[in-house]
């Protein structure tokens, strides 16, 4: 059989002297026990093997092309970005062929990168404006798609063609992207870095629920697989460092990439082919089988997402439990916890979150309160900080001592002895698991002291899955003895505490952020924030009895004769103060109903915008969270303490005879569409639920399951309806005309000043108009990247020097000697003296004769010592170790001195050789 050896394949290998990192043990090459010596001469020959170079290049090109094309065009496809396909495609191919060729070529080909970068920098500076505009258009396009909106993230000048600028942006960006992908897939064979470079672009879309068309995605996956195969099938650690084609450690020989060439590359191509076949087959199978995700999976997805959003380090145990429940349980209730800008659109799953049973029909909407948000941050409602509560610790201590908390103030009404009352037993059974707090109806009795009060917000019970309340309500049926519930002594204590708590409320529940967004709202709604001066009692009674404008959430009735009104059985006498409050609240509610429409798909508020401001001044669409938040802000601006509440509402319309059980109870399955947010206002000495959301009139709720758009009773159903008020309209126009408003992404702090409404304000990090210029922003980013890059290089150099020092001072003299020798090899390699295809001793002679760095026999001695350290069982003397170390350091100095300034920098910071 005729056998023809190929030079590069037939590798006469000698052992690399570098210590083996993958094997923990050292094996002596020649075993004195056995007398058998395995020599380091290895050759691998292949019969009839033709030149493989072209195959290799083609294989590498295919791999890199899949990565570049899949990633860049996948991104374009994912966000439907419009650009000139022919021009961008042409440049894509030019860049790809250039970089792929450069990285396929030996090291000197890399020099071509320098002029290429120079040209790139020059052209970029010439087209900077186009580039930035293209970037802004691209971001806007992504923003539209991700947030399902038409609102711009950046305000972009119309002077520059959108397609032109986007094309330019992609041409310049693809230059960098292609370079990185080609470098990591061709030159470095690093699967990890290949994935790091490409994955983020895909992830941007995937995270937001978009994926590229399948062919692109398949290409990217195939690229990842190929990168993985390439990086896993060679002994890359020594690539280009040692003259040998095999690396030896003891009696283990590892072939290096250059000996594997065709095998590796063809394997990668076959791996790609198999990956694409598998992906395509999977796609066909999934399509043919008409696969649909199960509801359980969707629920789990939702639950995990919710658990992730609720995660907090403060309650790590609870957070982890949430995750476990999310994985195990079928469903977890909707739990926003004040994060009002989480969902642009509300998706109703028609899932039963809890079952509520009443023994008597309450004849009113029943609000089940859960989360209370007190501090508005621009995109969430947070709790009052602990420090605030600490300031009032004395008051809360006295509440604790008396066991009377603001959560049950509504039980202590003046009318307690005269008003007909009745109690309703309410049972709540959670079907969604993992909820760590309770849903509590208003006017609940603290039976057997089972309530646990959290400051002035929550009530919790020991059982979170199934719990009961006795709810006091006025339904006009029977009159019970009030003493059954509250004693005279309790009442006196209540009055004392209530008086103290009122101060707390007015100090803390009137604050709104001190920023321009709030100012805009205040200006736009100034007319509804005060009661009309000529308001009289009859006007008020008209408002109160209209049944439309009043927002009180629970059952109310008016006694015009006695000049009082009832809310859920509690009688409120009208005086100037509360009358004004009622009028203002009604005005706000009416105005909100006019200005905004109820929609379950209002889109997400841009990250650089204030949630309430965007809702009131621009978007004019929203659901309960929008209306409740806006209501709280406007009420506070009007000097009425208010706060944001989340929970469920059981509408009166759901509590019908159809829901009665055999024993006469009313059993209501509370589905996720009844999750709700509302406002609590502090009137008449207690917190009362108040509805600013249109459609939540007493006894009804919007039909969320069937409609994504709801309007208030007084407005039309047109989602695109604009406010009729000319004043509001002009306000909005002013907002839109404000320069650079939408481009602001940076933040600045505002001063902490007191508001006229009597409450203290707090600082908030909000965008600063001076930094809204996108060019400045881009420059800052580039500068930041440069600084990070320089810092990274410096840290890398420091680390490399430290590692080298450690290597020279290794515990084992043999190891440190070998390290020093490898350092010498690397230094010579840097200076262009390659030891490739030469035996060590041969190379030593060559280096001595051709470099001028060594005296005769000097390097030869060093090589002999290194070979002894690597191969022999004899130990290395201190003198020998010192000799080779000193030689290495001297050589480093000599080679450094010989270099040009640029090469010196390269040696210091890129090669990290000195």
């Amino acid at each position: 059989m005729k056998e023809r050896s190929i030079k590069k394949e037939k590798a006469e290998g000698v052992t690399s002297l570098k210590p083996h990192k993958r094997l923990g043990k050292t094996i002596t090459p020649t075993n004195p026990e056995t007398g058998i010596t395995v020599k380091s001469t290895i050759s691998l020959s292949v019969e009839n093997k033709k030149s493989h170079e072209l195959f290799r290049i083609i294989a590498l090109f295919i791999t890199a092309f899949l990565g570049c094309f899949g990633t860049i065009y996948g991104f374009i496809n994912m966000f439907s970005i419009n650009l000139y396909g022919a021009i961008s495609g042409f440049f894509f191919m030019v860049f790809f062929l250039f970089f792929a060729s450069v990285f396929v070529m030996p090291k000197k080909g890399l020099l071509l990168l320098l002029p290429a970068f120079a040209v790139y920098e020059y052209l970029l500076s010439q087209n900077w404006e186009l580039y930035i505009t293209g970037f802004q258009h691209t971001v806007n396009k992504m923003f539209y798609k991700i947030n399902d909106t038409t609102v711009d993230y950046f305000t972009v000048s119309d002077n520059i063609s959108k397609t032109d600028s986007v094309t330019v942006f992609f041409i310049f960006s693809s230059f960098i992207m292609i370079m990185l992908i080609c470098y990591f897939s061709i030159s470095r064979n690093s699967s990890l870095m290949s994935i790091f470079v490409t994955f983020p672009l895909v992830e941007i879309g995937l995270y937001n629920g978009f994926s590229p068309a399948y062919p692109y995605m398949f290409m990217i996956i195939a690229f990842w697989v190929a990168s993985y195969v390439l990086s896993n099938s060679s002994y890359n650690e020594y690539a280009g460092k040692s003259p040998a084609n095999f690396v030896r450690k003891g009696n283990n020989f590892y072939s290096k990439p250059n000996i594997k060439l065709k095998v590796n590359d063809i394997s990668a191509v076959l791996a790609i082919a198999i990956a694409i076949i598998v992906l395509t087959a999977s796609y066909i199978a999934v399509t043919l089988l008409n696969y649909q995700r199960s509801q359980n999976i969707n629920d789990m997805r939702y639950n995990i997402k919710t658990a992730a959003e609720d995660f907090s380090w403060e309650d790590l145990k609870g957070s982890l439990e949430n995750f476990l429940h999310a994985i195990n349980a079928n469903s977890v209730v909707n739990n926003q916890n004040g994060r009002i800008n989480q969902n642009g659109n509300v998706k109703i799953k028609n899932r039963t979150d809890m079952i509520v049973t009443f023994d008597t029909n309450p004849m009113a909407n029943v609000y089940l309160k859960n989360y209370v948000g007190s501090v508005y941050t621009g995109d969430s409602w947070d709790k009052l900080p602990d420090s605030t509560y600490k300031q009032y610790s004395e008051m809360f201590d006295s509440m604790k001592a008396a066991n009377i908390y603001p959560q049950v103030f509504d039980m202590f009404m003046e009318t307690k002895f005269t008003n007909p009352l009745r109690s309703i037993n309410v049972n709540i059974e959670m079907t969604a698991k993992g909820y760590k707090s309770n849903f509590v109806p208003y006017n609940s009795l603290n039976q057997n002291n089972s309530f646990k009060f959290s400051e002035d917000t929550y009530i919790s019970l020991p059982d979170k899955d199934n719990y009961q309340f006795e709810m006091i309500t006025n339904s006009g049926f029977a009159k019970n003895d009030w003493d059954e519930f509250v004693t005279e002594a309790d009442f006196e204590e209540y009055q004392k505490i209530q008086s103290q708590y009122a101060d707390f409320v007015y100090q803390n529940y009137l604050t709104v952020p001190d920023n321009q967004y709030m100012d805009e709202i205040r200006n736009a709604y100034s007319d509804v924030l005060v009661a009309p001066e000529n308001n009289d009692e009859s006007d008020f009674l008209m408002i109160m009895t209209s049944g439309i404008s009043t927002g009180f959430a629970e059952g109310y009735s008016v006694d015009a004769d006695n000049f009082c009104y009832y809310i859920n059985g509690n009688q409120y006498k009208l005086d100037d103060h509360n009358m004004n409050d009622m009028v203002v609240l009604s005005q706000i509610k009416n105005r909100l109903s006019q200005d905004a429409v109820y929609s379950l798909s209002p889109g997400k508020t841009p990250g650089n915008r204030d949630y309430v401001n965007f809702f009131l001044m621009e978007n004019h669409k929203g659901y309960c969270e929008h209306f409740a938040s806006a209501g709280v802000i406007l009420a506070r601006m009007a000097g009425i303490p208010a706060r944001y509440v989340e929970g469920y509402v059981v509408p009166m319309s759901e509590i019908t005879s159809n829901n009665r059980t055999e024993n006469g109870d009313y059993r209501v399955e509370v589905k996720d569409n009844l999750a709700h947010a509302w406002t609590e206002v502090y009137v008449n000495g207690c917190w009362q639920p108040f509805e600013f959301t249109p459609g939540y009139s007493n006894g009804t709720t919007p039909e969320k399951e069937n409609e994504s758009l709801m309007t208030s009773e007084s407005t039309s159903n047109d989602e695109t309806k604009k406010p009729s008020s000319s004043e509001s309209s002009s306000q909005r126009n002013e907002t839109r005309d404000e320069p650079n408003r939408e481009t602001n992404t940076s933040t600045s702090s505002t001063s902490e000043t007191s508001k006229s409404s009597g409450g203290s304000s707090y600082s908030l990090n909000r965008p600063n108009a001076s930094l809204r210029n996108s060019v400045t922003y881009a420059v800052i980013i580039i500068l930041a990247i440069l600084i990070i890059a320089v810092a990274a290089l410096a840290i890398r150099r420091k680390y490399a020097n430290s590692e080298r020092e450690k290597a020279f001072l290794a515990k084992s003299a043999k190891t440190s000697t070998v390290n020093a020798y490898n350092y010498i090899i690397n230094l010579l390699d840097f200076d262009g003296i390659s030891s490739k295809n030469m035996q060590h001793l041969e190379f030593a002679e060559f280096a001595e004769n051709n470099t001028g760095f060594f005296e005769k026999g000097e390097f030869l001695k060093a090589v002999s010592i290194a070979l002894k350290a690597s191969m022999s069982s004899h130990s290395i003397t201190e003198e020998e170790h010192q000799y080779i170390t000193e030689l290495a350091l001297r050589l480093a100095h000599d080679i450094y001195a010989k270099q040009t300034k640029l090469r010196k920098l390269y040696m210091m910071y890129i090669s990290n050789l000195i």
């Binding site: 010596t37 020989f253 992906l279």
Partner: protein, 390 residues
């Protein structure tokens, strides 16, 4: 490979999370692809495994100690799938000293090609060096599965010949006197007047009674007769290839060097001799008569192909039991350690036979009046036999 398996498991977990967290169909396709890809690899490499063969061979059948032996592993992959990761484990063992060395290679395996890997070994000890493909494993492209290839020809052997030292010993004439022989040396003259070895011209110092008077008168030159040297097979060499725990490769090497040197010495001195040893693989006592130096080499090659043993002294036992052994005038018993029992047993039989024990003990050597004992020190073979009459 465990690293790759862990990586795959992590990837699978990520894919499952991805499937749960992302609603798009893509997440499901990715998940089932991730499960199907290893299965595809399993299928492909199951075929590759069946169509891959390997065989080992050496480029020589015998060689000297410390000389390079080129070992060649021929590998054939009859599929279109190259294998980037092949682990080839070779084992080199000396069948006499029972020492072995293992070597591992991580190499690529080309598709549809004959590929050969050559490596070079050497042995400083003599014996039969057996080269074996211990196992050959291929890995799939993502290194999740390992497949063992059954080698076509898993073993090869090379005989490493012992060194021969010229012995400064003397052949005893008494051996020839006591035993008649029908064979004569073809290369060396002797004193047996019954057979003429050569006729040549007279040279100074030749005995007068060797002059061939008739021929001298015919040729007009003084011609003399050379008588032949009778060759007798009166020497029996008995190497006992028994190993004990203290026996090092160097000891074994000295043992074989001594045997080779003795045989060569006798051959060079035209002393036909018989070498008797036990081949544990065939469970036979082998008697090999050496007549000349080429015979000596053949004998050594055959002997080195035999395996060593541990349990008992087969050669000594055979000598004691086999009456034919008594026909030899001189019996030389080579053993690593000559304990008291062995020495006394060997001495107690065939009183008319001269007996010599060559031992390599480092410690005590038992002396016996009936038997000569030579204790050979490792590396001092020549000195051990200096001036010794064999």
């Amino acid at each position: 490979m465990i690293k790759q398996k862990i990586a795959y498991l992590i990837l699978l977990i990520v894919a499952i999370c991805f499937f749960v967290l992302y609603e798009d169909l893509l997440s499901f396709i990715l998940l089932i692809s991730l499960i199907a890809y290893p299965l595809a690899m399993l299928a492909v490499f199951s075929i590759v495994k069946k169509r891959c063969t390997a065989a080992i061979s050496a480029e020589c059948q015998s060689c000297l100690k410390n000389r390079d032996i080129v070992v060649k592993v021929n590998m054939k992959n009859r599929t279109i799938f190259p294998v980037p990761n092949t682990v080839l484990n070779l084992k080199f063992s000396n069948s006499l000293s029972e020492n072995s060395e293992k070597v591992s290679f991580l190499i690529p395996w080309h598709a549809n090609k004959n590929e050969s890997l050559k490596t070079v070994i050497s042995s400083k000890c003599c014996g039969k060096l057996v080269m074996k493909i211990e196992n050959i494993c291929i890995y799939d492209y993502i290194k999740l599965f390992k497949f063992k290839i059954k080698p076509q020809n898993p073993t090869a052997a090379v005989i490493v010949m012992p060194d021969v030292y010229p012995l400064d010993a003397v052949i005893s004439n008494s051996l020839h006197e006591n035993h008649e022989s029908d064979s004569y040396s073809k290369i060396k003259s002797g004193d047996d007047p019954s057979e003429v070895f050569n006729i040549r011209e007279y040279s100074e110092g030749d005995k007068i009674n060797r002059i061939h008077w008739k021929l001298s008168s015919k040729t007009d030159k003084m011609m003399v007769k050379e008588y032949s040297l009778p060759i007798t097979c009166n020497t029996l060499i008995m190497p006992e290839l028994i190993l004990n725990n203290t026996c090092t490769p160097d000891d074994f090497d000295s043992f074989m060097d001594t045997l080779a040197s003795l045989s060569q010495f006798f051959a060079e001195n035209n002393t036909m001799h018989t070498v008797m040893w036990y081949d544990s693989s065939s469970n036979n006592i082998i008697n090999y008569t050496v007549d000349g130096t080429s015979d000596s080499a053949l004998m050594l090659r055959k002997l080195l192909s035999s395996d060593a043993y541990h349990d008992k002294r087969y050669v000594l036992d055979n000598y004691l039991l086999d009456e034919l052994s008594g026909k030899y005038a001189h019996a030389i018993y080579l053993t690593f350690d000559a304990d008291e029992t062995a020495v006394s047993q060997f001495s107690s039989v065939y009183p008319e036979v001269r007996k010599t024990i060559v031992t390599f003990s480092k410690n005590i050597v038992f002396y016996n009046d009936e038997t000569e004992i030579i204790n050979v020190k490792s590396g001092f073979i020549q000195e051990s036999f200096s001036e010794f009459v064999l």
